[in-house]
């Protein structure tokens, strides 16, 4: 495990058999998104809004593939009703969420959804993990991936704003 935490996450996703990656971009996911598009074994899909990704991952599972949704904490609120699909049907689900609004945030508009993100996931029945240290990123994603696809649960890995590095303009 290294300081290249995005590289560690990518290795964990590949090792876990992820075939589809859907995303609404975030700077914290930039390296993963680039890697997904560069990998011919991965179907990478850009979304107009995050809840599409919940549907996309459900469809992937119906077709026998594993996927991951990459989004930012502000997108979690867009997904709330879509999460009912996961619970009602027992879909395996993995999302990696870059956090805003929690550490040296310069934009007050990011704070409400960032602060509400962990509880939103908990109330939707997710298992929630938080990565604060780069050396934990790969193993945390591997664990969440196993819980998703081996134990058929919904899982969210929160990549803390401190880990990603505060955004400044």
């Amino acid at each position: 495990m290294s300081e290249d935490w995005q590289g560690d996450i990518w290795q964990a996703l590949k090792k876990g058999g992820i075939a589809q990656v859907a995303y609404v971009p975030d700077a914290g996911h930039e390296k993963l998104i680039r890697a997904a598009h560069a990998d011919h074994g991965i179907k990478a899909t850009v979304l107009t809004t995050e809840e599409e990704g919940v549907g996309l991952m459900a469809g992937a599972d119906l077709g026998g593939e594993r996927g991951v949704l990459l989004m930012q904490s502000s997108g979690v609120g867009n997904c709330v009703n879509a999460f009912s699909l996961l619970k009602t049907c027992g879909f395996p689900f993995l999302t990696l969420v870059t956090m805003r609004g929690e550490w040296a945030e310069f934009n007050p508009w990011q704070v409400p959804m960032g602060q509400a993100t962990p509880e939103t996931f908990s109330r939707a029945g997710f298992l929630v993990y938080r990565v604060d240290h780069p050396e934990d990123a790969g193993s945390m994603v591997s664990a969440a991936l196993a819980n998703a696809f081996d134990s058929h649960t919904a899982n969210a890995v929160l990549l803390s704003q401190r880990l990603i590095g505060a955004k400044v303009f």
């Binding site: 859907a22 599409e52 469809g59």
Partner: protein, 193 residues
């Protein structure tokens, strides 16, 4: 305008294992069930706006199968952005049939955007779909169905249907059961397990 049950029955005629159907919540789910329950029908009872994204994820995972999303104008309007997502991805095996009565039929028949100016076929075409059709009369349905079942996708047909009430045909409602049945039937064919 067409009668919805007759249109969907024609659309799903000769439904075999190579055709995977995602049905949008409400009347389209009842219409698909009325045309004949099938292991490769995935019925939605909620998650409004996600029928097309589910169809897209499935189409990407199963490129050798035809994936047909059957949904209504209200559901498609809620997920209109997903037409852009499909247009960006251009899956050749994805087709969308919108049963368009220009109304929110389940909630009192309030007029929808398609009766107030939105042309979903034009939206899809402008988003990069390979083909789109607007069906207003019986004699236009045959060629639209041929496109939905056979043409290189992504394709969409907006089928203008009557608001006349039809008997409810209610399929399985347990989401776990619907998912399990669909996956077992599809993935036991020697596909990815």
């Amino acid at each position: 305008m067409l009668e919805r049950r007759i249109a969907v029955a024609r659309l799903l005629a000769d439904h075999d294992d190579n055709l995977l159907v995602v049905a949008g919540l409400g009347s389209p789910t009842y219409d698909v069930a009325a045309a004949g329950d099938h292991n490769s029908n995935f019925y939605l009872w909620g998650a409004m706006g996600l029928a097309v994204p589910i169809g897209l994820g499935l189409a990407l995972a199963q490129p050798a199968k035809r994936v047909l999303v059957v949904t209504g104008d209200g559901e498609m309007l809620m997920g209109m952005g997903s037409l852009a997502t499909v247009g960006a991805r251009r899956p050749p095996n994805l087709a969308i049939a919108v049963l368009d009565n220009e109304a929110f039929g389940e909630t009192g028949g309030q007029q929808s955007h398609t009766g107030l100016g939105t042309d979903l076929a034009a939206v899809a075409l402008a988003s990069g779909f390979a083909g789109a059709a607007m069906v207003r009369a019986d004699d236009e349905l045959g060629s639209a169905i041929d496109m939905l079942r056979n043409a290189v996708g992504p394709v969409i047909a907006v089928i203008k249907i009557s608001r006349a009430p039809v008997p409810r045909v209610l399929p399985e409602r347990d989401g776990h059961a619907i998912r399990q049945r669909f996956r077992s039937a599809l993935l036991s064919q020697g596909g990815i397990g």
